[in-house]
């Protein structure tokens, strides 16, 4: 480490010099290609549970093209009747179902190097990564954002207010007046998440957060 690097490092630790900005993120939020996604699963266990459906939409410059959306159902080796009751997926046309690996391949093509947005992103990403591994594919390397985390940054800080630790997608839909039609379908939730994300961005803009890298701080 040269002297210069050492000085920079110590300045960064002291908080005098800010960490360098990732240049690929030094663009206005509107220019980025986001993929907003949601998975419906048989349950919450990363190992034993499976993805039933993946819904995703592309969001760029505040626009969603309905045609350019992603909604694929995965064939299940084992059916868990209890989760079917929530998602109602069994009622869907069975012919539309694809194998897990097929849907994953389609998803990878769809994602490209876009930034992934979800609500409680860790869950969806881990489910997808586990599935990728199971099929001998590499894990996702996309950058990710989480509306559950970003939303908290929009709330005002005050002694008089106690914020919740976790905000559900329902909370966000209520706060932002987004219709909860199609809630608990992958695509419906992805849509609600996308609109919530746009509304969050609007609030953050009031705090002068207009560049992409600012969302990752």
């Amino acid at each position: 480490m040269t002297l210069k690097e050492k000085i920079i490092e110590s300045l960064q630790i002291l908080g005098i010099l800010k960490e360098p900005i990732d240049e690929s993120l030094n663009i206005p939020i509107e220019s980025a290609r986001f993929v907003v996604l949601d998975t419906e699963t048989t349950g919450f266990d990363y190992v034993t549970d499976r993805i039933l459906c993946i819904g995703a939409i592309v969001l760029q410059n505040g626009t969603i093209n309905v045609q350019d959306s992603f909604e694929h159902y995965i064939d299940q080796e084992h059916f868990d009747k209890s989760s079917v009751q929530i998602h109602g997926i069994i009622r869907r046309d069975v012919l539309n179902h694809k194998s897990e690996i097929e849907v994953l391949q389609l998803l990878l093509d769809y994602l490209g190097d876009s930034i992934i947005i979800a609500h409680h992103t860790k869950f969806d990403i881990t489910m997808i990564n586990t599935a990728l591994e199971r099929n001998g594919l590499a894990k996702l390397t996309n950058k990710t954002l989480d509306t559950a985390v970003l939303y908290k940054r929009t709330l005002i800080k005050s002694n008089l207010l106690q914020h919740k630790d976790h905000y559900t997608l329902d909370d966000l839909a209520d706060k932002f007046d987004i219709s909860k039609k199609d809630r608990h379908t992958a695509m419906g939730d992805a849509y609600i998440t996308a609109i919530a994300f746009l509304k969050i961005i609007r609030k953050l803009k009031e705090k002068n957060e207009i560049m992409l890298y600012q969302l990752f701080r």
């Binding site: 819904g55 939409i57 505040g62 626009t63 969603i64 093209n65 309905v66 045609q67 959306s69 909604e71 709330l155 005002i156 005050s158 002694n159 008089l160 207010l161 706060k175 007046d177 039609k181 199609d182 379908t185 992958a186 695509m187 419906g188 849509y191 609109i195 746009l198 509304k199 609007r202 803009k205 009031e206 705090k207 002068n208």
Partner: protein, 644 residues
């Protein structure tokens, strides 16, 4: 490919013309091609003379303004389900208006290439489009063009791009005018004319010759020419009349009439058969007619509110209230009167929301309750759309019923808060709303809570009392609200230390000007370099008025300038100061309201560069009053003794 989202789009579109003429399959196919676009408030969708986009737009959520001539005349407002930007696509011309979002908006963009075949195939869709274009035009022959819908020879003088699904857009409706014209000949004397005008109770008389209008005489002419003594009372009409008469065709819309009056700076228009002075006069249109046509009349609006069956229907009425407010401000009607009327109307909207919410509940309320407005709404000083601040008190009930009662009122409050949001009151970011369990309490719980604030005042407690103690009853039981008010007064009397805290709280507002008497502006955040009129000017006055009025134990006045007027009565030695406080407060309120209307926001933050020199001087004069007032208060209560 059909999917959940295209389904969602289709479910929306099928409710609105012309899409409701299409069959389900066609709507679904169309919906797959839609783009969903999110736009922030004030975002431009297209500008005047811009080349057309390849899609037209449907408002899914929010509202879009159509403006013309860079003068920012709003010609039309599109809300949910309305279409705009279609006409130029069909007529193959550039946009004739600018489209800009009035609030946060979600649009569906529908590619014209996809839509056009349906419009041609389906005669209902085609004729709907023709009709809606025709209804917005001066040209009575537009209908004859209907077979050439997609030709380029469409009358380009038409400005209408908008399809309004019903007649709710009043501005573009043909206007109603008085058909009984009172006329006189050119030989009539001023005296005779004045007698006729008084008898018929009119503000203008038409001078005619051979049935054709040759001049017009208004109240103003009589005042300026006769009463001043410039002309004798026996002068004949042809000498004092305004001539030639500015004439228009009766087919004009309200907006056009308004613009015509503004353009020539006149208050009456003469309508003739063909719109020129060479045909018979058929009517007179006065400024008053325009006002009535706009529905800008409190009594009409109150009636409309009473008829409303759905919360959503209140939103357009609120828009009209804002128009009314704008009109009052333009006409310089005293702000006290203005705010009384507007507050009354806003309260009526809130009441209606509560009534509709109650109707939605499965059972009637299990106990008496009162719905309180807090903060500026409680002080009846809120003229614009702002955040909600409200709370609920319910009657004390036996312990076994407590949980059930609490649940009922929380559920009701959630419904009301949502309803208020729908009509334009944003959710309070600090959650000061009755649906928050902290602000939905029984009378005894409230007493305990305010006792806590009064007996153990800290910074937060004082802040809460500031917001809460200005409450007023919006709906429900007056006794409960009064009982709590009585308790607050008794408790403050028993805990005099509370004043000291209130006072130092009231003196803590940030100063409006710096050392060199320059305006102090915000240093950072979204409103950097803007002047915060609320925190730096209005709040210091409101806070001071509250402290003083509490110290006199005056109940029932929550309005700040009324408080100052009362104080002037109670303390003759400070009369002058208090009256100037009342005056300053009114001036600031008017200032804020005008700014808010201009920028369609709360008016809290003011861009100093947009102010005239005179306005700045006026604003600064109020600061001097604030400073004097704060000195009086700190002398009297001496809050220096404690720190909070």
């Amino acid at each position: 490919m059909k999917n959940t989202i295209s389904q969602r789009v289709a479910d929306f579109l099928k409710n609105f013309p012309p899409f409701n003429f299409l069959d389900q399959h066609d709507i679904e196919v169309l919906s797959e091609q839609v783009s969903i676009i999110y736009k922030d408030k004030g975002a431009v969708i297209f500008t005047e003379n811009e080349e057309t986009h390849d899609s037209f737009y449907v408002v899914h959520k929010g509202a879009v303004e159509l403006l013309k001539n860079q003068k920012n005349d709003i010609l039309d407002m599109c809300d949910e389900g309305d279409i705009f930007g279609l006409r130029p696509l069909i007529a193959h011309e550039n946009y004739k208006m600018e489209a800009r979002t009035h609030e946060e908006t979600i649009l569906y963009a529908i590619p014209i290439a996809i839509f056009k075949p349906y419009a041609i195939k389906n005669s209902n869709v085609g004729s709907f489009i023709i009709d809606s274009f025709a209804s917005n035009t001066q040209n009575p022959f537009s209908k004859s063009h209907s077979d050439k819908l997609y030709g380029s020879d469409f009358d380009t003088e038409n400005t209408g791009e908008v399809i309004d699904k019903d007649n709710k857009i009043l501005d573009l409706q043909p206007i109603k005018y008085s058909k009984k014209i009172i006329t006189c000949s050119r030989a009539a004397t001023a005296k005779e004319i004045a007698v006729t005008m008084t008898k018929k109770n009119i503000g203008a008389i038409l001078v005619v010759e051979d049935m054709l209008p040759i001049g017009i005489i208004t109240d103003k002419d009589l005042r300026n020419k006769i009463v001043t003594g410039d002309y004798s009372i026996n002068t004949t009409a042809d000498v004092i009349m305004n001539s030639p008469v500015i004439t228009y065709s009766k087919k004009m819309t309200i907006t056009q009439a308004q613009m015509a009056m503004m353009k020539s700076n006149i208050s009456h228009l003469c309508l003739t058969k063909d719109g020129t002075a060479n045909t018979k006069a058929i009517g007179i249109l006065s400024k008053h007619d325009v006002m009535v046509a706009l529905g800008n009349n409190p009594a009409v609006l109150i009636k409309a509110l009473k008829r409303v069956k759905k919360t959503k229907a209140i939103k357009p009425i609120r828009a009209k209230i804002m128009q009314l407010l704008q009109g009052y401000l333009n006409q310089n009607i005293p702000i006290t009167l203005t705010s009384k009327i507007i507050t009354e109307l806003n309260d009526a909207c809130i009441k209606r929301v509560i009534e509709l919410s109650l109707a939605k509940m499965k059972t009637p309320p299990p106990a008496r309750f009162s719905w309180l407005a807090l903060g500026s709404q409680g002080r009846s000083e809120q003229l614009l759309h702002t955040d909600q601040d409200n709370a609920l008190i319910y009657e004390d009930v036996p312990e076994v019923l407590q949980e059930k009662t609490r649940k009922y009122f929380l559920e009701l409050a959630a419904e009301v808060n949502k309803g208020l949001f729908e009509i334009g009151y944003d959710y309070c970011p600090a959650e000061m709303m009755a649906s928050n369990p902290k602000w939905c309490l029984s009378l005894n719980q409230w007493k305990e809570l305010v006792h806590d604030w009064i007996s153990k005042p800290g910074k937060d407690e004082v802040l809460l009392s500031f917001i809460f103690f200005d409450y007023s009853l919006s709906y429900g039981d007056r006794e409960l609200a009064n009982e709590l008010a009585d308790y607050i007064f008794e408790d403050i009397d028993a805990n005099p230390i509370f004043y000291v805290h209130l006072v130092s709280g009231a003196l803590q507002s940030p100063s409006p000007t710096g050392f060199f008497r320059q305006f102090l502006v915000e240093q950072d955040g979204a409103h950097k370099d803007f002047f915060d009129i609320k925190r730096r000017a209005l709040m210091p006055l409101a806070d001071a008025a509250r402290v003083l009025i509490l110290s006199h134990s005056v109940k029932g006045i929550s309005n700040t300038y009324e408080r100052f007027e009362k104080l002037a009565e109670l303390e003759p030695q400070n009369k002058e100061l208090y009256l100037s406080c009342a005056y300053s407060y009114k001036a600031l309120l008017k200032f804020r309201t005008k700014q808010g209307l201009l920028h369609h926001d709360s008016g809290q933050f003011i861009e100093l560069e947009s102010l005239t020199k005179l306005e700045k001087v006026k604003l600064k004069a109020t600061f001097k009053t604030i400073k004097e007032l704060q000195e009086v208060i700190s002398m009297r209560f001496n809050p220096g003794k404690i720190t909070i």
